[in-house]
Subunit: 156 residues, 2 copies
């Protein structure tokens, strides 16, 4: 039997969301918010394309799905890709205690900044996540750069 | 006649949104995104209470209302209150060029961090905005601390 760490099991939920987004024609990034005991509080995916909404990054979507809460200190945000500044800011502002990142090879956002501010950060460098984003960026560069606000690349 | 600076005229739109939110029973923070020529691209308000959605801060709502865009460098985000880390991260990630802050006396978020990263930041310390939040925080402390993820204060 293959040994599966808890972090990888949590990542599986985010990865399923990413695949769901891809199947919808969207940007394949997924996320999920869990309580300390592993209870799923909310899951979501990037829906820039599907909803025409630039504010719905995967982490935002999972955070929204979890509803209003008073204390995030014992929660864990799991995301297939290193969180951008927008999503890193979300994690810091609401005091989410832990962050599990699928990969930071295709894009590196604010996960080191979060670690510097007390968030327990784990980066898995999961091969499935790397492959998913590598292929997506190669096939849809303009959409990808739009999603992370990189206007220079769109002019090239 | 009273002399009105352009920044104050832009702030008026955000302040109207804040009052709208207050009238709905919500947290009175408003925001608006403008193009370089002063064209309004989107306006919005905090809707944690109204929509039961913790991800809708005023800046997020204005950003969403502006729809998908490829380049934010010549846009200005105007907000009645210093942006929290979540909203500061939004401004940084999407390369919004300018930020006008109504006030930073009742809450100070990431506006200095944004200035350090190249955003042109103006803080007006507008008396209406200060009074609005001062009164709201005094009357609804638990709701306010929930909105900025300060769990410690809720335990007191």
């Amino acid at each position: 039997m293959t040994s599966v760490t808890p972090a990888q099991e949590l990542l599986d939920v985010a990865y399923e969301e990413a695949l769901h987004g891809l199947a919808e024609g969207g940007i394949p990034i997924g996320a999920a918010l869990f309580d300390a005991d592993g209870t799923l509080l909310g899951r979501g995916r990037n829906r820039r394309v599907q909803s025409g909404d630039p504010s719905v990054h995967a982490e935002t979507d999972a955070f929204r799905a979890a509803g209003r809460r008073r204390d995030y200190r014992r929660t864990t945000m799991v995301t297939t890709l290193s969180p951008c500044w927008y999503c890193s800011g979300l994690i810091r502002q609401f005091g989410i205690g832990s962050l599990i990142v699928g990969e930071s090879q295709t894009f590196s956002g604010g996960h080191d900044w979060l670690a510097d501010h007390g968030v327990a950060v784990t980066v898995l460098q999961d091969r499935r996540c790397v492959d998913l984003m590598t292929q997506f960026i190669a096939e849809h560069p303009a959409l990808w750069y739009e999603d992370i606000g990189v206007a220079d690349e769109l002019e090239a």
